[in-house]
Subunit: 265 residues, 2 copies
């Protein structure tokens, strides 16, 4: 039997910072926050109605029923080794890349994953209604509760397996982190030449909106798409003194050329 629908957060990073207050506005109120840094836990508690800072990972007498681990992937295993849970607690992590099974050590019966597919930064507001949540669970009662919890904050909640979640996470790295990195390099090139990044903004907005509307395979343009090797060489020469940028330019262009023009053209 599952004890209660109150929630404890382990971690106070970017995800906890946004998700805990969002949950606190549903029937799944947050009562406890633990963080390696108690000042961070305190700052998060101030964003919540009735939560308290928890000083250790010994939750044996906790009033909470659901324990959400929202720490970096590397730190999850440490939390799992140290945490002491009350009977019938549900233990949850929020990672895209960690398996469900990693939780079994700490929580023999009830555990699950709650993976929100979004990029979180402390300063940027998050509207969780639009964020897809992916749920994986060790058993049906846990699944029922986690689905209800996720549906409290988002309109888009899906069941998913661990291998599917990994594929989704890798795809998200390309779509979000790598896309942002391309913009970062672009901005650097402009800065180095005293040109304004603002000039590229209409291009970027149009690129993304076309890509989402027509599909990226139909939206591609540019020298690599056209197989215009002369311009590619010309650009590589321009990047000659910045080896990391030249390397990226070469590898990505080659991949585009290979897809649209075959490897033997």
């Amino acid at each position: 039997m599952i004890k209660s629908s109150t929630v404890a957060f382990i971690g106070s990073g970017n995800l906890a910072w946004h998700l805990a207050p969002a949950l606190d506005n549903t029937e799944f109120a947050v009562r406890e926050v633990y963080s390696v840094n108690p000042l961070h836990a305190e700052a998060l508690v101030e964003r919540l109605y009735e939560a308290e800072v928890k000083a250790s990972l010994d939750f044996s007498t906790s009033p909470c029923g659901i324990f959400i681990i929202a720490v970096s992937d590397d730190a999850i295993q440490e939390v799992v080794r140290e945490i002491v849970l009350p009977e019938d607690a549900i233990l949850v992590h929020t990672s895209g890349s960690q398996s469900l099974e990693v939780l079994r050590f700490a929580a023999a019966v009830n555990f699950g994953v709650l993976y929100p597919l979004q990029t979180f930064t402390k300063d940027a507001k998050v509207d969780f209604h639009e964020v897809p949540f992916f749920v994986e669970s060790a058993n049906p009662p846990t699944e029922k509760l986690l689905m209800a919890l996720a549906k409290g904050v988002s309109e888009y909640v899906f069941k998913i397996t661990s291998p599917e979640r990994k594929a989704l996470h890798v795809a998200a790295v390309f779509a979000s982190n790598f896309t942002n990195h391309m913009l970062m390099i672009s901005q650097e090139i402009l800065k180095e030449n005293s040109l304004s990044f603002d000039w590229l903004k209409p291009l970027i907005v149009t690129t993304i909106s076309k890509s989402l509307q027509m599909g990226p395979e139909n939206a591609q343009t540019g020298p690599a798409r056209r197989g215009d090797l002369k311009t590619l060489d010309n650009h590589l020469e321009f990047l000659l003194e910045d080896e990391p940028k030249a390397e990226l330019y070469k590898v990505i262009s080659q991949d585009i050329v290979d897809r649209y023009h075959g490897t033997d053209e």
Copy 2:
């Protein structure tokens, strides 16, 4: 003295397809269209008020004063070698990567570059008012005319040098073509795992809007940003059987790790 402000287009590809009708609505009406494929020229002419298909590059008796070459970079030099212009004509190309000087062979005095920074696809409408135009000219009268022409279609018109235009073009390749390619790979990974690309759309929209608002250097998240080598290895293992994707994952992640964590961490 410059003859007239009527325009001829050489080329009927994606850029000409959108720019010729936009110009046709200003005082710079389009009168002639030449294309290697006369059917393409004919299709573009049908989008214009009073233009005609031109069968050859001999424009010696043309009524036009401004000749805009809107062909692929590789084809520009061929056009420049073959074209015959009337006296005092202005010859213009629209390429991001070709120098101004490439035009001198055909047009001894009046020539310039009109570079619109946007991605053009035939099927997608273009609002030129928001597209930045970059103008470079061989002499002041040409500059004056090209600035007026660009300002007829866009609110954002800037003078620029050839080296600046090249930097801008390389930056645009990263910001547009490479960004789109990251989305393409992301979509492929999802397809291969029977997952929906739609699920990533809120993430993509948020990523870009945060990147433009906060600057890409502040908006970065993800395993490489965190220096989470375990997850990076995990993802590389996932991509093991798709060598081109694994290679891209490795090179781009390494570049992010190097920037945020130094090369010796």
